[in-house]
Symmetry: C3
């Protein structure tokens, strides 16, 4: 479904088919691309560039290297437990690992125990992927990023019970989460929010990273980039209308799950069309509501929602299996 | 299965089959009736009368009009996404919407944003209905009122994170919920509790409304009214025995889910018989325990259980698919 | 699969087949053995001896008698609702009841209401067993001890809302659970922790009880005893590495779920082998992490995890249905 020139893609595919090392790199890169449903190594490469840019800009290199380690562990685990080769080859056992590896150093200090935690998280994420995918296959729906979210939640909740895991960036646990920072956004803040909404899919708050991600999406499928960016803007508008905290909106925190919902519903599991676009809009708005709801549920524990609002929205909106000319891209 | 005279029913069915407007009204009324499993427009009409009576008595007209709006949105959404006509026609895409529309104004101030919230809730509730029904169809069990509960929970939890949704009637969030108001009920209080237990199915605390609901049930199936009222009394007794707060019992809050469990287990998914009655009694007692448990879980967030104790009980007691002469009335 | 002499087993089986009273006793004893996956009445008898030893040592006889009452109620309920005889005969409707009956007097004062609670819990646990087993049969995975855990949770959460259920031993509800009691364990403490980790499967903190349980396991299958004890030691090591509270480790609280995971993954649902042993090790480590995570989640409510860390681990590690020469022993 690539809309860019297929020349370099063909060259790479031929080279990767011949050389095991290149093939393995191809699998890893596709794993990064699959975080936003794109089975494309160039997309994955651009996502990685965006991650490294964002991580080094924030002076948190462990975020980028952790992502690579998680990606590696998730993929190697899939080989070790004989997961189906056709799933491994399109990156389905890498996308959860890379997210686990990016998420943990975002919230924990980079101690040696953290790296053991990332290794364990990468392994668990692939076992969870197989478990969740098997359950949801019953209704022909994919696991989405649930294996990443649930793995990371287990490790985060547990960290509050284990003294050797040093929490650095988790929010303070409290019952009240009513926002106190509501103000009108300026135009530059609006555009900042729209791009950060895309970059936060990988937990990064950075406009340039958001641009890299959109370019990566467009490399594989222009509609994916368009739906992603429009969804980020729609999520900004919905969050402002409902009265979410403005700081959180400008940081992209009400948009990243909505971006994934829109790419998934609008371009991956359904083909883009007017009916599908309307359905994706309803799903995007629901995702913003779900973000607010899950913020409240998890704030009691001082644990972030990660991409669970997207997971919930995708499951709810795909389970009805509506006949909007469905087309399933992922197992 | 109607036990009342079938004359007016036949006249109405013939008229509704000819006239699209009457047919649509028939679908809406059956949707209201399906809240208590009754596929009967007259039952739905009597329920609506009870709702309007209770809402206006409590000086909360938005509860009744919100119910109508939710009913309308849920049903229209079902048409828009091509839900199966045979489900729409018996009201299966109206009962969650009407409950969402009744619940939101019970707990939120009637601002313009609230009406947008009801519209969104009505739409979400039908999509959730299709999602949950598809999952539970795997085990031949119905969605019950789970789409209503989950939709309303998302909107309520989110409201604590959104400044523009004004909470008016939600309980204060706190960890302790040990009752401090335990006293012997008088005979008038006992009867008040029994009728309010029925009216609270639609979140209304009103004896007259309870009578309207029981008459509505009896119009379609006398056993449904009998099981409903006996279950309400059994729930009062169970709650008193266990030591629940007396004020909550007199307001009907430990009974409404039990009423639904008893109608469901005793008369809808099984045919009434002695074996079934015993099973319904065990299920009713379990529902009261589940009500207490879920009160504790949700009190931390200041969010009500709605009818989830019933949903949990119905799923647990129907999933074993026991051979008590089963008879499935709902998809 | 018995490795001990089969002579007494054959004599008992013949006697139990002829005498209904002995057959019923056989069913009850197998129910106790099934808590650790052993379909063997002698194993069940040794478990019972361990339970009585531990309960009377702790001056809590109600724990042992409650266990018997729960076992009886769970099994009788299975007969009453016509559960498949082949399941009843191998103890599958007793193991949840005995656990409910052991758990409730551990945390509640032995008032008359408590005994009514145990009776109700035994009944509920069998209905829940049938419900959960039916759902998970879809993916050929067993219910594990989920019916026990969920039944007991409902009764415990509810107790905070009901004045007539007297809580005696539940932890205080609080948000923070960071351990403050971290110190190096001595060698005697290490061995105490390893044996208590086994005895805590039945909520008992007693070395002699742990020995009885290991002997009971070995009577039926020597590998089960070996995996159980090695898993308890591995869990002690993992919990120490992560920085769990030392007092809790010495009391066996980070090990009992891991013991069940290792017996289940390593010897019951898979045949022991090197590949399986590695998988069981990963599962055991995951169970310790899940124990920490669920401690944090439930501590807000002052409710213990019971064996849910095991249930979660078993489901996650069995759902992928990996081809490690699988062999399903339980429905």
């Amino acid at each position: 479904m690539s809309t860019a020139s297929d020349m370099p893609a063909n060259w790479w595919n031929t080279a990767a088919a011949k050389n095991p090392a290149l093939h393995f790199m191809d699998v890893l890169l596709r794993g990064v691309g699959q975080v936003m449903f794109q089975n494309n190594p160039l997309t994955g490469l651009l996502f990685l560039v965006g991650i490294f840019w964002g991580a080094y800009s924030a002076n948190m290199p462990a975020v980028a290297w952790g992502g690579l380690l998680g990606l590696l562990m998730g993929t190697l685990t899939a080989y070790a437990i004989n997961a189906p080769k056709e799933d491994i080859n399109i990156g389905l056992h890498g996308y959860n690992g890379v997210l686990v590896g990016v998420a943990l150093p975002t919230f924990f200090s980079p101690t040696p125990t953290l790296w053991a935690y990332i290794v364990a998280g990468g392994i668990f994420s692939t076992i969870l992927m197989l478990a969740i995918a098997r359950v949801f296959k019953t209704w022909k729906v994919a696991a989405m990023t649930a294996p990443f979210v649930i793995t990371t939640w287990f490790l985060m909740f547990a960290a509050y019970n284990f003294a050797n895991i040093k929490i650095s960036g988790l929010p303070h646990a409290s019952i009240s989460v009513q926002p106190t920072d509501i103000y009108a956004v300026t135009m530059p803040e609006f555009w900042k929010a729209a791009f950060a909404g895309v970059s936060q899919v990988f937990l990064i708050n950075n406009v340039v990273t958001g641009v890299f991600f959109l370019v990566g999406l467009a490399c594989n499928f222009v509609w994916a980039a368009i739906f992603a960016f429009l969804a980020s803007m729609l999520a900004v508008g919905t969050a402002l209308f409902l009265g979410a905290g403005t700081t959180a909106i400008v940081a992209g925190l009400f948009q990243f799950s909505a971006v994934l919902t829109a790419i998934g519903l609008g371009t991956t599991f359904y083909r883009p069309s007017w009916r599908v676009a309307i359905y994706a809009i309803v799903g995007t708005i629901f995702t913003v509501v779900a973000q607010g709801a899950l913020n409240v549920v998890l704030n009691v524990y001082g644990v972030p929602t990660l991409t669970f609002p997207f997971v919930v929205a995708a499951w709810i909106f795909l389970l009805p299996n509506l006949d909007l000319v469905p087309e399933t891209h992922r197992n």
